[in-house]
């Protein structure tokens, strides 16, 4: 039998899943509800200057990269299974497409974090 390459993607899926389970709900609440509505946190928490400074700092870059990459690898892996489960004829080979999209999004994030300086 052929050894599966799933350990690579399962690890990324698991890392993203763990990260999103630990901080996902709160992060979505903060950036999507609290800050835009000025509820609990002031609106300028995510002002241009503050967020730019965060994205230019090493720790901030790492955090943004890990969140976007982790969520994408977790999410797209599961989306593949969702589509397979509702009956779309997506064989094992199709998984590479979904992992490829996740990798693409992660590389775009990396590129942006580099050009931001």
């Amino acid at each position: 039998m052929k050894r599966s390459n799933r350990p690579i993607f399962w690890s990324l899926f698991g890392a993203g899943g763990m990260l999103s389970a630990l901080v996902g709900p709160m992060l979505i609440f903060i950036t999507g509800i609290a800050v835009p509505l000025g509820f609990l946190l002031p609106r300028d928490t995510m002002s241009y200057e503050r967020v730019l400074a965060f994205a230019q700092n090493g720790f901030g870059k790492l955090a943004i990269f890990v969140v976007i990459g982790g969520f994408l690898f977790h999410g797209l892996h599961r989306i593949y299974h969702c589509l397979h489960e509702v009956g779309l004829p997506l064989g094992h080979g199709w998984m590479a497409v979904f992992h490829g999209l996740a990798a693409l999004g992660t590389l775009v994030a990396l590129y942006l974090l580099i050009v931001i300086g």
Binding site: M1, K2, S4, R6, P7, W10, E85
Partner: protein
């Protein structure tokens, strides 16, 4: 045993006769019952008194042989430890274990499972043969605890009927066989892990699982097959990456 208190329950059975039917249909039987009667006894009543052609498997009547599994109101159950009184007065629907081909009425074709069971090498493979004269293998309670729960499997296949991934892809080795695979890998007397890892590592091995975990929910022996499968995802991941670092011992 014959005092039924006048209670009668409707049992709706899936019927399929391969010689005359192209597709299954349902038939409903009115069965007088007592509170201590199992679904299996209800089926036996039908066979003895209402329709002798109804086909189903059973043997021990005490949740040990694993042959009486079926879907009761859509849930995989052992019919010998499921009671009619719990479905009164609404009645119940009994179907063969889902995801398996129906041979006739409530009997399914288990061949696929039996082939998979063989493929996991369900026996202890010792490091070196040990003649009886040298005594028995010793094991601490903790070593035994590592595999004991997984050794309780009765091959009833309820977990396969619970597993949508098996239903969607019959190549998947499935919960029961993988739990038994782990049962041997986790046994301190066994040295066959490297041989079994080949299956674990394949797409058909543990990677067909998405941790639905309904298998663990329905298992009548609380084996938690989902745990055996997912522990082995970690094992397989270690095996995948560590082979670049350290060569395997006996593979």
């Amino acid at each position: 045993m014959n005092a039924t208190n006048g209670k009668v329950i409707a049992i709706e059975c899936l019927r399929y006769d391969p010689q005359t039917d192209d597709a299954p249909h349902y038939e409903t039987y009115q069965v007088p019952f007592t509170d201590d009667m199992s679904v299996l006894q209800g089926l036996q009543y039908i066979k003895d008194h209402l329709d002798g052609s109804l086909t189903f498997r059973w043997s021990c009547r005490m949740a040990i042989c694993g042959s009486c599994g079926g879907m009761v109101n859509g849930v995989p159950r052992l019919s010998c430890e499921t009671f009619l009184r719990d479905f009164y007065p609404e009645g119940l629907r009994v179907e063969p274990l889902t995801h398996f081909p129906i041979q006739r009425d409530l009997a399914v074709d288990q061949t696929d499972f039996l082939v998979k069971l063989r493929s996991i090498k369900p026996y202890i493979i010792p490091e070196a043969p040990k003649p009886v004269t040298e005594g028995t293998f010793l094991q601490t309670p903790q070593q035994m605890d590592e595999y004991y729960q997984y050794s309780q499997c009765i091959n009833c296949l309820l977990c396969y009927a619970a597993c949508p991934q098996y239903g969607l892809d019959r190549e998947f080795t499935g919960p029961g066989a993988l739990a038994l695979l782990h049962r041997y890998n986790a046994d301190s007397r066994d040295a066959g892990k490297a041989e079994r890892m080949e299956l674990v590592n394949a797409d058909e091995g543990v990677w067909g699982c998405t941790l639905v975990s309904y298998c663990s929910e329905v298992c009548p022996k609380s084996i938690d097959p989902a745990r055996a499968v997912n522990q082995n995802k970690v094992e397989s991941t270690k095996d995948y990456f560590l082979r670049f670092v350290a060569p395997r011992r006996n593979g």
